[in-house]
């Protein structure tokens, strides 16, 4: 018994060391994923933000797979992902958007300098639709399948190497 107890502190140390080392080598994933993935798109009714571009109504986002992009003119990574969204649009993807806490003037200027990939832009002044989607920041991109279900959530800006993956997700969502 005494011999076993002699080794106990060393074993304890090894356990604590392993715990700390594993935390350092593989830091915990702190991104908050939406729990709405796999569920139908929640009922959204967002007014149009810009003249000549419709707002968002969940019932209309059906029939074919599409992207729903959560963005804002004040969000820096949204500028970084704009070229990729333009590429996706050129590939024939319909992209609808929810503008978080934004004004028509600011969004107009944003689209003028970064390109406009959006078919619809809904105005979400108090982040209500964002909260309903389970989105925890900008930018985020949801893949909506043909039946109007949320098939996939991409958190953060869409990088060049995310484009094929998103196209594959859209293909899967038919």
């Amino acid at each position: 018994m005494r011999r076993v107890l002699l080794w106990a502190p060393l074993v304890l140390f090894a356990l604590v060391f392993a715990l700390v080392a594993s935390g350092l080598l593989r830091p915990a994933d702190r991104t908050v994923h939406s729990a709405m993935v796999g569920k139908p798109l929640p009922a959204l009714a967002l007014p149009a933000l810009l003249p000549g571009k419709p707002g968002i109504a969940s019932a209309e986002l059906k029939g074919k797979p599409r992207l729903l992009n959560v963005f804002a003119s004040w969000c820096i990574p949204c500028i970084a992902e704009a070229p990729q969204l333009m590429k996706l649009k050129q590939a024939g993807v319909e992209i609808d958007a929810i503008a978080i806490r934004d004004t028509p003037e600011a969004v107009q200027a944003f689209l003028a300098s970064n390109g406009d990939p959006y078919a619809r832009i809904g105005d979400d002044k108090a982040s209500r639709a964002q909260l309903a989607l389970g989105s925890s920041g900008v930018p985020e991109t949801f893949v909506i399948d043909a039946a109007g279900r949320i098939a996939y959530q991409h958190i953060g800006d869409v990088r060049a190497d995310d484009v094929p993956m998103l196209l594959a997700q859209l293909e899967k969502a038919k």
Binding site: R30, V32, H33, S34, A35, M36, A72, W74, C75, I76, I100, R101, D102, T103, A106, K125, A126, S127, R128, Q130, L131, A132, L133, G134, S136, G137
Partner: protein, 137 residues
Amino acid sequence: MLVTPALAGVTLIFAAPSFADSKLPPAELAYTQLPDPAQEAKAKALMDTLRCLVCQGQSIADSDADMAGDMRALVRQRIAAGERPGDVRTWLVQRYGDYVTYDPPFSWVTAPLWLAPLVLLGLGVLIARRNFAKRRS
């Protein structure tokens, strides 16, 4: 150069925050209490137990982030509309998972969290009883 705390304070006052934030004013009920004190107390108690999703160590009651303000507005609006705090929490958990609440529901993941105090208390009682028994003899 010697940086005194006072100088550091002065430079901090003039430093612009580097994170992006919306220029819109905060949502209506983000910083305004509900007129009914009973409802406000319920809303406040709930807000203390909801996690801010952008500043993850804070509750939405403590955070000045835009999104926390919008979440406070959502909580107050729903409480004012007569919803029970539990329903508002459930609505948010359905969207963000258990991570959004600081009051985690009992599940196999959180079981150690809830049961460990009971186990430790039991262990303490056992040790105390053995020690007292020894002393008496």
